[in-house]
């Protein structure tokens, strides 16, 4: 069980959080993007062997959505949200 640094509450057990997937590309302008660009935005998600930025929701806590950088090889949280210890 990960120990996740919530910027508001501090380090808490993973069971208090809901995973929100990796941080993908910014949403393109749907009226300007080509079909190809739109499909890639929807379907291509970062999945590196190494650090990945991902969204977490402190659902059973303060309700904050925030991101961390987690190393997928070791679960090491290499970068915590701003303001956390």
């Amino acid at each position: 069980m990960l120990l996740i640094p919530c910027p508001f509450c501090g380090k808490r057990n993973e069971s208090e959080f809901i995973y929100g997937g990796p941080v993908g590309a910014d949403r393109p302008d749907p009226n300007a993007a080509t079909d190809q660009e739109w499909v890639e935005y929807l379907t291509v998600m970062p999945n590196p062997l190494g650090p990945v930025q991902e969204n977490w929701w402190h659902a059973r806590g303060c309700g904050d959505w925030f991101t961390i950088w987690r190393d997928t090889r070791t679960h090491d949280i290499v970068e915590a949200p701003d303001g956390t210890k």
Binding site: W38, N55, D64, W65
Partner: protein
């Protein structure tokens, strides 16, 4: 004779506390301090098990969690299965059985399998899956190859418990290295959590006659334990196995039989700043013909039984080793008066320090064991010189063997830290840590006590690895994995058939699986693969170590989360009223308990539901709609936020007005449907389906916090802040008037899809005109503290109108009659609003909203879609099962849709249904066919509405 093998004195047992126990129906006696295994050996029980596949007779081979052979099932109040006999503390009245034999291990009918051994090689199961026919063999294989069955009932007394703890230092193992680490940390004032799997502290010192600073080593242990117990900052648990090493230094500890009376096992989840693994080392087996015979035991186990449990496991012991450690065993045996008939050593040059331990004993250098004589007990070992000279039989009733020592790196490896093959130790040892963790003592490869206690030089352990005996004239099967009956030839077969990665070898042969997870044999499998492939062991690598380190009961993992406590139900304030009034209670999404229907005495489901439906359509009813997800949204940017998350426009609603809408996800799928009401300029109320409330909340919060952090929208979940009684039916307005309200109920001033605040029955209320049934409805929302009172007043005011409480069954019928959607029925991951005939809900005016682009993209390709239609069975009394497929002409071919719902419609006197049908919108009036297994049901395709198609009634 009782305890014929028990020594007269010595050992860490209490001869004043005899314990009676039963094994396979026979009664025996042991002493306090015994394990089941030591007590069986004390009583001279040699055959204690039958093997997994061949049903060969087996005895006790180890003395701890490494035991591969003797698994038992415990009966009675502490019922559990597949327990290694070496880890079961003896207690009065213990009742144990061997797991894999019938009728008994001494006489086991499954033993006939040995005759067919060559027909059940490695991969046997997989091959049988393919040919000739798995189902032919399955019943007999399942019966023969079983381990213990799960107990039928949870333990009759006591309960399981879970606890969290935080530590600055967690130490796994209370042997010499662990105790020393604990003392160091505790004296430095750190918060220490020390857990050890044994019944008492000491680790390997319990089994040996060693000294520390000139005193018996166990005196040092007693002093260390006493000092630790005197410190406030130390938690010391025995009988507590650290079985899992998870992310971020979370370790899970299973404490068995804590001192508090009613607790069977306690699961500790310990988050530690630093972890010290003092898990010791495990002796590994030698691999030679007949190495599974009862009486072939690990050398350290023979030593443990003699020293710790005062059991002479044999009278004439031969040893077989490739390292120095077995010489200390021989010395202890000789000192105990046991005859050592031979020490077979595969090494040509035996170090002097080893020979000095065994003056006068017959040592045979460069000699291996190449076979065992004796079926149910060992009688002699075949000593074969490696030089190729004549082999000879040497008498013995126990063969003690040592293939070397493996640092117990399970937890280290579970933490994802790396291993390195150490050529000097011929073993995998800890290398790079990836979490704040270090290994100490034997777990780190420091195998001698001097080095652990004093940091002194490591005296020579002198191993020369021997992964398997390979001499001409070897007799019998040589087992790599005793528990799973995996032999050297099985591994060779796997390699020949192309399974040459060590993980594949494991899965193909099952070597290293099971209860013991190959603690004594895995390294020999790796060595055998390495020899066969001509690779160094480092390159072959190990299989992945996974938790649990030793078996853990499900009860301990679950802790107190059992029965209703596992996942509690949610109730509304009228649950009790519902039960008192005969409701059949259902679970209705998100763990809400709500009434399914209210049968009168002797009334069946269908009659009750039809009666409730009739009340809604012809009279008046009341329904508890409280579980519906509701959210209040507040802020300047709510209108544009709602326009983004709903497919239609919400921002042009005026205060007091509401609208039905669909929420789509970015990929165009329907996420939820519901209604949005504008309470005033900046306050909105939206509802979601009961089961999706949490998902919608997550969806909205994520958008607001990650995509639009500058938008001013505040979301408050108010599902449980407002409960409601929904009065529904042609006479609903009359009941509302009877309830006494200051809200003007006329359809002109309070039209459909609007919202009013006021007093109802003297209670502050929000009344909403929505309808999920197609009839005139008033949803009266009040605070939960007023709900029960409101309910009573509704029943009272409705009595003259014969108001009926109705449940979710009739709601389902009524919504099907109206063609209203139910997520999970009509809506799945393939359906969009156009398919549902709801193109009107997809705004053309908005340039962007969630899902718009994706739907356009998906629809641009054309193609046939499954579209929502109504279906009427040609025979009005023909019911259709929900989920039934529709096929062209009812033929047995690819489906063209499915029936999503089918109900008995009281207003139509007919079964009516909804279906998703290929090109359905264009096929109205045609006949389609439901294909069941044995028959075909013709149905007429209609519009998906069977009652009040213009919606006059719900607007009335």
């Amino acid at each position: 004779m009782a305890q014929s093998n028990r020594r007269a004195a010595g050992g860490r047992i209490d001869r004043n506390q005899p314990l009676r126990f039963t094994f396979n129906g026979n009664s025996y006696e042991g002493f306090e301090g015994d394990t089941l295994a030591s007590a069986l050996l004390a009583n001279g029980v040699r055959v204690t098990a039958r093997s997994f596949k061949y049903h060969r007779p087996r005895g006790i081979m180890g003395h701890g969690p490494e035991e591969p052979a003797t698994l038992v099932e415990l009966d009675g109040e502490d019922a559990s299965g597949n327990r290694p006999a070496t880890t079961v503390p003896l207690r009065e009245g213990l009742n144990a059985r061997s797991v894999n034999c019938w009728p008994s291990p001494e006489f086991d009918l499954g033993g006939v399998n040995q005759l067919f051994a060559r027909f059940i090689p490695a991969g046997f199961y997989y091959k049988t899956f393919k040919w000739p026919n798995w189902h032919l063999f399955e019943p007999s294989i399942r019966m023969a190859a079983g381990l213990a069955a799960a107990p039928f009932k949870p333990p009759s007394k006591g309960h399981f418990e879970a606890r969290y703890a935080h530590a600055e230092v967690l130490i796994a193992g209370a042997g010499p290295a662990g105790l020393k680490a604990a003392l160091d940390a505790a004296r430095a004032g750190k918060r220490v959590f020390l857990a050890d799997e044994g019944t008492e502290a000491g680790g390997s010192l319990l089994n040996r006659n060693l000294t520390i600073s000139g005193r018996p080593a166990m005196d040092w242990v007693a002093d260390a334990v006493a000092e630790l117990h005197g410190m406030q900052n130390v938690t010391h648990l025995q009988n507590a196995t650290v079985w899992a090493y998870r992310e971020h230094n979370l370790l899970i500890v299973n404490e068995r039989a804590p001192e508090q009376g009613s607790i069977l096992e306690r699961s500790w989840r310990v988050r530690a700043a630093e972890v010290v693994l003092a898990t010791g080392a495990t002796e590994r087996a030698m691999v030679f013909g007949g190495n599974d015979r009862p009486g072939v035991m690990l050398a350290s186990s023979v030593q443990a039984y003699v020293n710790r449990w005062a059991v002479n496991v044999g009278t004439r012991v031969a040893l077989f080793t490739n390292n120095n450690s077995a010489y200390a065993v021989a010395a202890d045996l000789a000192a105990a008066g046991i005859i050592v008939t031979a020490i077979l050593d595969s090494r040509e040059h035996i170090p002097k320090e080893a020979l000095d331990l065994v003056p006068g004993l017959p040592v045979h250098p460069a000699t291996v064991a190449a076979g065992m004589f004796g079926h149910k007990r060992v009688r002699a070992v075949l000593a074969a010189p490696l030089s190729g000279g004549a082999s000879k039989w040497i008498k013995c009733d126990v063969l003690a063997h040592s293939g070397g020592w493996n640092p117990t790196v399970h937890l280290w490896s579970q933490s994802r830290s790396t291993l390195q093959f150490d050529e000097d130790l011929a073993a995998f040892v800890p290398d790079q840590a990836v979490q704040p963790c270090r290994a100490v003592g034997a777990a780190a490869g420091d195998l001698t006590l001097d080095r652990i206690i004093d940091g002194g030089e490591d005296s020579a352990y002198g191993i020369e690895p021997l992964w398997r005996v390979d001499v001409p004239g070897q007799r019998g099967k040589a087992f790599l994995d005793i528990q799973n009956d995996v032999t050297v030839s099985d591994v060779h077969l796997a390699l020949r058939e192309g399974y040459d990665n060590v993980e594949h070898v494991k899965r193909y042969t099952t070597g290293g699986m099971g209860i013991d997870q190959g603690k004594t044999g895995n390294i020999n499998i790796i060595g055998t693969v390495a020899l066969q492939k001509g690779l160094p062991l480092q390159e072959v690598g190990t299989t992945t170590f996974r938790s649990p380190y030793t078996p853990v009961s499900f009860g301990a993992i679950g802790g107190l989360r059992e029965g209703w406590g596992l996942f509690p139900y949610r109730h509304t304030p009228v649950t009790q009223w519902n039960k008192d009034n005969g409701a059949v209670m259902y679970e209705a999404g998100a763990r809400w308990r709500r009434p399914g229907y209210f049968p009168k005495s002797g009334e069946g489901l269908q009659d009750a539901v039809s009666r409730e439906c009739r009340a809604v359509r012809e009279g008046v009813s009341v329904y508890d709609g409280s579980p519906l997800g509701t959210f209040e949204l507040k802020g300047r940017d709510v209108p544009r936020f709602l326009d983004f998350i709903y497919s239609n426009i919400m921002s042009n609603l005026k205060p007091g007005e509401g609208r039905y809408g669909l929420m789509l996800s970015e990929d165009g799928l329907i996420l939820d449907d519901g209604v949005a009401f504008r309470l005033d300029e900046h306050r909105w109320l939206i509802s979601t389906s009961t089961g999706h409330a949490d998902a919608v909340n997550q969806h909205m919060e994520k958008l607001l916090q990650t995509e639009f952090p500058d938008w001013q929208v505040m979301i408050t979940t108010v599902t449980s802040q407002w409960n409601n009684a929904t009065i529904c039916g042609p006479k609903a307005r009359e009941v509302m008037q009877a309830l006494d309200t200051d809200i003007d109920l006329s359809p002109q001033s309070f039209p459909f899809m609007s919202f009013r605040e006021g007093a109802v029955a003297g209670l502050p209320a929000r009344v909403v005109r929505v309808s999920f049934t197609g009839e005139l409805s008033f949803e009266i929302n009040v605070a939960p503290r007023h709900m029960a009172e409101l309910w009573d007043k509704v029943m009272e005011a409705g009595a003259p109108f014969e108001i009926l409480p109705v449940g979710s069954e009739s709601s389902h019928v009524l919504r099907v009659e109206k063609g209203f959607l139910s997520l999970g029925h009509e809506v799945d991951g393939t359906v969009d609003a156009y398919d549902l005939g709801m193109g009107w809900v997809m705004s053309k005016k908005k340039s962007d909203y969630l899902g718009k682009r994706s739907i356009e993209l998906r629809r641009s390709g054309g193609g046939k879609r499954h579209e929502l239609v109504g279906i009427l069975p040609v025979d009005p009394n023909q019911k259709i099962p929900e989920g039934a497929p529709l096929t062209p002409g009812g033929r047995k071919e690819a489906t063209e849709g499915l029936v999503t719902a089918c109900v008995w419609s009281v207003v139509n006197d007919h079964w009516v249904g909804l279906a998703l049908l290929e090109n359905g919108h264009a096929r109205q009036g045609e006949t389609a066919h439901v294909r069941l297994k044995k028959n075909v049901i013709p149905v007429t395709v209609t519009k998906p509405v069977f009652h009040d198609p213009e919606g006059k009634l719900l607007r009335s």
